[in-house]
Amino acid sequence: MNARRLDRLPILLGIFVFAMTGIAARVVQLSSMSVSTVAASGDLIHPQRGAIWDRLGRLLATETYDRYEIIVDKVHVEDPDTLAASIAPALGELAADLALRLANPDPRWETLERFALPDVAAAITALESPALTARQNPSRAYSYGADMAHVVGFVDLDLVGHFGVEEGHAESLRGLEGRRPGRFRTDPASYIPPYDGADVVLTLDAELQLACMGALERIVDEQDATGGTVLVLDPTTGAILASASTPGYDPNNYSAYDVERFTDPAIGSIYPPGSIVKPLTLAAAFDAGLLAPGSTYNDEVEVRMGGIAIVNPDRLGHGPTTMQEMLTLSLNVGASHVARTLGADRFYGALRAFGLGRTTGVDLAGEVDGIMPVPGEADWDEERFAFNTFGQGFSTTPLQMAVAIAALANEGRRMRPYIVASRISSSGEAVATKPQLAAQVVTPATARTITLMLEGVVQDRATAAAIPGIRVAGKTGTSEIAGADGENATIATFAGYFPAEAPRYVVLVKIDQPDDTSGSHVAAPLFREVAEATIRVLGIGVGAAP
C-alpha cells in the first residue's frame, strides 16, 4: 500500500510541475494581454452625448467618431528620429520638431494630434508601432447646419455646449463618464459604467424651420436688410415650432465666425417693439373697464406728453376716432390717449404682465431681459413714458413680443415658451415637458375682443398679411433705431395669429433696417408666406401641432 503511494510520487510531482507551468503560462499570457491595452486610451469611458431631434424625429445633432486622437507612449519609442520621420508627413509636422517631442520622456503619454482625419489614423495604425495609438475622438455633427444653429447651439472641442439647446440642456445631454476596469483593465471591481446623455426631442419642426429660414433670407436679401427673425409658436402651449434668424453661422465650423453671430437674436437681441404694443395696452384698458371698443377720442395732429410732441405716422389728426380706427391706422396720438387713461402704473403693469422686459424662461441659453424702466426707477421719466406709449424707448426680445401676442391668441393666458418637447434617457425613459401657464394677463373676453379688432387691422390695413379662407389677426410695427452710420433706421415687424376663431399658430416676423421702412410693406408679406408654410407643413386642423 505504502509502496504504491511512493510509486505515485513522480506522477504527482509531474502533475504538480505541469499545473504550475500552466499557471505560470496563463499569468504570462494575461500580463501580456493587459500591457497591450494599457496605452490604448485613458481610463475614463466617454459617455455618448445625447442627440437632438426635431418633433418628427429628424436628426439635428449627434455625436460622431470620425476623428482620431493620435497618442504616443514614449516608453515604447526606441528611435525617436526614425519614428518621427515616418509619422511627420501624415501629421503635417516637421520631423525634427516631432523627434524632439518624442525624445522627451516627460510626459510619458502625449497627444500628437487631437482631431486627425481617418486616413491619418489609418496611416498611423498601419505602422504597427507599439508606441502609437489612434483612438476615436468624439465630435459633434449638425445635420441642418446654419438653418438650426441659433436654436441648437454647438459644442466646443471639449464637448462643452454653448448657446441654444446644447447649453440650455447641457445637464441632460452630457451624461456621466465611466471608468475602465483598473490600471491594467483586469479589475472589474473598479469598473464604472458610463451613463450616456439623454436625447432631446424639440417642439420645432425642421421642415417649417427651413421654410422660415428660406423666406427670411430672401426678404433680407431683397431689402438689403442687416438681419431678421421669424418665430412660430403654438399659443396654447408655448411650444416653439420654428425660430429662424439671420445672419447666423455653421455650427459644424463655428470657429470661422465672430462670436457675435452665436447669439440667438430671437432671445438675445433687443429692439423697440413699436406699434405691436398697442393691442397689449388697449387690452389692459379694456380689462380695467377704462375703455371699450366703442370708446372714442379726439385724434389731434399733435399732443404733448412729457415734454415731447407725439404725432401720428401719417402726421395727420383724424378727429373723433374709435379704438378700432386707432388700432387699424396705428395712431400714436390714440396710443398716448390709452396710456394716459391707464396711468403709468397700470400701463407698465400691463406690459410686465404680458412678459415684456423680463426673460420668458424659455429653455434656451442666452436669453436676455430687455430694457424697460418703470416709475420709481432712475432711468424712468415722463418723456420716456411718452415714447413708451407707442412702443419706443424700451426694448424687448422678439420672443417676448411673440409670447405677449400669443397671450391674446390664447384667451389672455400667457404660456411659458419652451423648445424641448421631451427628454429620452439612455435607458429609454421619456419625460415630456408639460406646458406651463405663466399668467392670466387679461380675461378671455378681452382677448377675444382684441382678436376681433386685430382681424379688422388685417382686413382693412395690413392686407398683405391676409390668407384667403383663413381668419388672420395681426398688427404691424415699425420702430426707429439708430443705424450704424448714426442716421435713423427702422425695424419692420408683424405679429399675428390664425385661425382667429381658434388660434393655433402665432407668427412674429422682424426685419432689421430694410430698404422699405414700412412694416406692412415688408413684414406683412413675409408673415403671410410663413403662415402659409406653417399651414402647409403642420396643417390647420386639431392636433396638427405637438
Binding site: N2, R5, L6, L9, L12, F16, A19, M20, I23, R26, V27, L30, M33, S34, T37, I45, H46, Q48, A51, R58, L59, T62, E63, T64, Y65, D66, Q136, A141, S143, Y144, G178, R180, P181, G182, F184, R185, T186, D187, P188, A189, Y191, A206, E207, L210
Partner: protein, 156 residues
C-alpha cells in the same frame, strides 16, 4: 528466543517504525504540496476569472464604442437622405413638383358628379400629374379626383 534475537527483533521494529515515519512524512509532504498546489490553482484561477472578466468588460467597452460610431454614422446618413432639401431635390428629379399651368381640378363629390372646375374646349384633362400628396388631400377631403386641367400650349 535469544537475547540476540530479541535485539534483532527490536532493531527490525525500529527500522520499520523509521520507515513508517518517513513514509508518513513523505505522504504528509505530498498531501501538503497537493493542498498548496490546489490552493494556488484556486487562487490563480480566481484571479484569472477576475482578470478575464475585467478584460471582457474592457473589450465590451471597446465594442460599444465601435457600435456607437456605426450608429452615429448610420444616423447621419439617414439624416442626409431624409433632409427636406434632399427629398425635394430627388422628388423634382423624379418629375414631381407644382404644375404652374394647371387651371383647375375636377373632383367627383358625393352629392353628384359635378366637376368643380369648368372645362373649356381649349383645355384638356391631364390626370395624375399632381403630386401624390395633393392628390391624396383632394381625394380625402372632397371625393374622387377625376383629373387636372392644364391650359393648351399655343400651337398644340
Amino acid at each position: 528466543m535469544t537475547a540476540l534475537g530479541v535485539a534483532r527483533g527490536k532493531a527490525r521494529d525500529g527500522d520499520a517504525a523509521q520507515r513508517d515515519g518517513a513514509r508518513t512524512l513523505v505522504s504528509s509532504a505530498v498531501l501538503a504540496a497537493i493542498a498548496l498546489t490546489l490552493a494556488g490553482v484556486l487562487w490563480v484561477a480566481l484571479g484569472t476569472m477576475i482578470a478575464e472578466t475585467g478584460l471582457r468588460i474592457n473589450q465590451t467597452v471597446t465594442e460599444r464604442q465601435t457600435l456607437l460610431a456605426r450608429r452615429a454614422s448610420a444616423r447621419l446618413h439617414l439624416a442626409q437622405i431624409t433632409h427636406p432639401d434632399s427629398l425635394e431635390a430627388r422628388a423634382r428629379a423624379m418629375g414631381f413638383g407644382p404644375q404652374l399651368d394647371v387651371t383647375g381640378i375636377a373632383i367627383m363629390i358625393e352629392a353628384g358628379s359635378v366637376p368643380l372646375a369648368s372645362v373649356t374646349a381649349s383645355e384638356r384633362p391631364l390626370a395624375f400629374r399632381l403630386s401624390a400628396q395633393r392628390a391624396v388631400e383632394a381625394e380625402s377631403s372632397s371625393g374622387t379626383l377625376l383629373g387636372i386641367f392644364k391650359r393648351e400650349e399655343p400651337g398644340r
